[in-house]
Symmetry: D2
Subunit: 365 residues, 4 copies
């Protein structure tokens, strides 16, 4: 099954686990002629790297990417691009205690149900660390679509019950990167940081909401009926570990509105057709309208908490209790930001080729 | 592109438009040996059929299904199953006025951006009528998974600001079918019906939320990392026309909680491992846990309203105003119910084969 | 599984069986704006229709196609195109004798091994009649690629030990249609026809070789490494019932040659790069070179013969003997001609979109 | 496009080029629980490694594989398996002369037509060196299917006009490995070796035919209509560089026979249904019959010859002449043997899962 692949034409296959030798991604279907270096990928990996602030896990990975294939004389050559990152700071000792005793809120038990075993060392392929692959794929996607003026930025808009104020879409990227929470509202960011530290103090964790905005998206992206742009965005975003909800545009708030209130009416801005509101989040009938594409995802609190929890020992089949030590993020929202951007960028790159905006084999045509 | 197909092994391809000769679905990858008749499909189609109550469109379609292939001596034979429904009550007259003048909130303009034209007669392939294909595919999927004890039921839990009380999961199917709103809480159902009729009276429309629950789902379904069960559910549900949000389990409410509050702890129920809460909605690490799978979708108010709306004439490139007449549902939530069930059933059928629960070629092995 | 589908972007899914209600095809991914009518498809279906000459089966099917979807105002609209043909002259009586007694050379026993049963009425989905779906898909593909100057023609070049002389590539289409054998060499055609009639007289059947030639194919088609143009041609051609071998260009004769003899050297014809020989059959490194694409397929003698044959009764598990009556072609090569053309056309249409020669959503861009 | 991937469930994606940093493969969809080590893969890589005899290229690659992911505690863990091989003995100096001057018989010009450039250093991704990826994927496939008793062996049966005598199917593997030509007939092997050396002496190259035989294949493998077993075999075999023809069973010789001569009649061998001949090559109706699966491929003479050849300079657009130096195999047939085995093994592994013979997630179920 192509479970570890995403995209129809711009197709990314990822591999690797939390405590194995390496993680990585193969990007097939990227057209030739795109300037690409390890720096382009490293920049994005550095954004999701652990150990960079007080509110992330202290796991000390450098996450250096190596490109193994697909680049010739500084440009993509039309063949699959492979980037890998070796695991360095692997410490499995904290996990031996968890063998056969699945952690609540994690995929341990369900992986066992599926594959007959699970990698108790940090969750194996079920670990959040697999998003290294997303970021590698997304970095190539970003480079590609930025050439056509598409920008993807994500930011944290809620942690616990603290909500950020709205920010001009164009400033999100700049503002969000100024604080460790990656919230574009600096006041809310400070409160969020405090909340996260307080949760960590208690051996607990906290959830939040991340918003992704793509500007410059051309109209006409999206394959009806099952390959719609919003459907593909929902798939990749819901697939990020810990995500439990996805909204496009106005999201769940549409339920409380009338058609007359939320239909985005058309007007002319010069020769361009726009809508004066954007409740649809830039997607109508599953196809982009040219307005900014906006999505929000609900991120649950990290399931790894140090408080004692009830579980079942799968070997003895007896109920028992565990305490999780290891090294964990008390809130993964800030690190979900680059992953969400990468995910949306991969979908957009794929759909821009699928819709004929980008030539499938050679960017110079 | 396989835009009109869904599923990796149990693969459904749909076709047809609002005002063309017919709509239908081809189901490839259904194992042989399953008893199947037109009745099984008709029952589900009758549930999404228009014109059955005061709160649905008066379009008078009988929606009789004909099976063209894939059934031999009353059973599926392993070859593709094709079901079609002919359009009968086609009235395109109301639409001529809309040629070149895209309706706000609909996919008209975005289809034009994609395909260079759009079918102004009821939205063509962008119409909600295309869910006839979903229901045909879903009816076969339901029949298949029910043999393994999996039941999928949906119900309306919110219309406008009216919310239904929680109902025992096992009673949803029975209760929801007792009223035209398909809300399992009869008190709320009455209020919802009034709200819908009031909106229709004003030439307006109203949105809501539909919940889908699957019980009997075995643990172990879901292909990590991109083919997760929740990812695939999000994709198909977000792809239903008018859906703007998808939640699994607790959904967006996870943002306000701590890990200690929402981690579902394991216990033993005889020899079965269960969790005492189900905030995860039966899916952990993208794989089913054996607990009920629950999803909710936000459905926007029908964009077809009879109030005047601003748009742009694509031929003259001038701003203008339209009024939509035609025949429309003031609220599509009740009719989304069977479509959401069908969608979830297709995903589950596919994943039950992908995970080896159902033999891929012959249900009797 | 997508077993009944072919193509990545221009994707054809076929359905139906020998004695079921109908056969057909859904073509997803055909760009919008292509003029298409039932006539375009009927013309090709008429070429594979049974009962048109002394050397084909007398089964009297009219094979009238009906387009159910995908065409709006005489042009493709970007949505899936569905064409169906109803089975009319279904006579299953000749087959009851064959229930549980698989015919040698047919797929009866292997279908049983796969699906737990087989449709003894003419082979069900294993029948050559399923190529109706190929021809529907191929007719649309032909229409599409002809707009870019690509022509696909097939002809019979060998029946038994009778071989046709070589013919100018551009005349194949015209000459081959002038006789019932579809051999472009009229002298050989007469001998072939006699041989076929003689085989039929004896209750036997005879095999042959069909060649397909595509001219006007642009250079640059083919996705290395597994999605090469020749690989995809080999897949679809080998998948035609009764085909046991596929050659591209010089085929098996390359084994007896030296590199110095068969490397096609480049020269300039005006500004166009050509090769002075074409042993490669227009494909190098799996990618088209701009020279004519040539393929040959080996077609085995129809396995349905009226002579007595040994088999095993699958119910009693005893060896036994059968005689096949029904209505059969003593040689299917002439009717494979339009099917081979359709197959090659589908692959080329798909690759022309994949390579960016044809816009994926709108032929007018 | 998934051009660099093969297989629907057991899905192999390969990457890397002749002169880049590394080559490799990601195997997704291999069930968990299979014992696997680098040794299993190394054994097969050593068989295709260059520089091992007088009749192969002297390029001195050690081709050491490193497994980066997918193996946990010595067994596959259900996540993607990644194996890489680094290029060591890269000598691009011989190629600078060939920049802009495409070599006849190679993919240089066609890659340029597709991607706007080509990697003149040994053909880049068009090089035969990419079959390192095939062999890595095939080694895992072999390990998997051997557990169910399926063996795949290939041998050289023709070089130039020298043909090997037929050998007992079960001895092919053992006999063929005893000489550098990999021909199971020792007498023919000696003549073939002389022929190859003689061709090399002249700066020329020679073609041949390789046969692949799979024994122990269960009946019931193959998805009709487009995903037939023979169709998938033809696709992967034709996709191997330099292959120009594929035959299943009797192949092209069927053209000269009558139905009465080649229909394989059924008989009972104890409780097993067999055929007394196997002209079909173990595949009927595209589905395996339980008899040995046999395929033959025509391999053209290596296009790299040191004799002068005519070509066109793509920069100056003038006709010119080149001489190829570099290091090349005068006949690649012996090294195609392990690649052909790997290719067939990948297809069989995929189809054994697709048909339900091997559990898709866990080999112990």
């Amino acid at each position: 099954m192509a479970g570890n692949s995403t995209g129809e034409i711009f197709r990314v296959t990822t591999f690797g686990s939390s405590h194995g030798p390496a993680l990585g991604a193969v990007i097939d279907g990227c057209p030739a002629g795109l300037e690409l270096s390890e720096k382009d990928i490293q920049r994005e990996l550095d954004r999701r790297r652990p150990g960079t602030s007080s509110i992330t896990t202290p796991r000390g990975e450098t996450d250096r990417v190596e490109i193994l294939s697909g680049v010739f004389e500084g440009k993509t050559d039309g063949s699959p691009i492979t980037g890998i990152v070796r695991n360095r700071d692997v410490d499995s000792s904290a996990y031996t205690d968890l063998k056969n005793r699945p952690r609540p809120g994690h995929g341990d038990y369900t992986w066992k149900a599926r594959f007959g075993h699970y990698d108790y060392r940090g969750g194996g392929r079920g670990s959040g660390r697999v998003t290294v692959g997303h970021v590698i794929g997304g970095a190539v996607a970003k480079k590609l679509i930025e050439r056509w003026g598409v920008r993807v930025n994500a930011h944290v808009i809620q942690i616990g019950n603290i909500r950020a104020s709205r920010v001009n879409l164009k400033l999100i990227g700049e503002y969000a990167e100024k604080n460790p929470v990656r919230c574009a509202d600096p006041k809310a960011a400070r409160l969020m940081e405090e909340l996260i530290l307080e949760a960590r103090e208690r051996g607990d964790s906290v959830g939040g909401v991340v918003e992704v905005v793509a500007t410059g998206v051309p109209p006409g992206l999206g394959d009806p009926v099952f390959g719609k742009l919003d459907a593909d965005l929902a798939r990749i975003l819901m697939g990020i570990g810990s995500v439990k909800g996805v909204e496009i545009g106005m999201g769940f708030r549409v339920a409380e509105h009338r058609g007359s209130e939320i239909n985005d009416e058309y007007y002319l801005d010069g020769e361009t057709i726009k809508t004066n509101t954007n409740t649809s989040g830039g997607i109508l009938g599953g196809i982009s309208s040219g307005m900014p594409v906006t999505a929000r995802i609900a991120v649950k609190p990290t399931p790894s908490i140090s408080l004692p929890q009830r579980t079942v020992d799968l070997e003895t089949m007896e109920e028992t209790e565990i305490e999780i030590h290891g090294r964990h993020d008390p809130c993964i929202c800030p690190r979900v930001v680059p992953v969400a951007e990468a995910s949306v960028a991969m979908v957009l790159a794929d759909h821009m080729i699928r819709a004929g905006y980008i030539h499938p084999t050679d960017i110079n045509r």
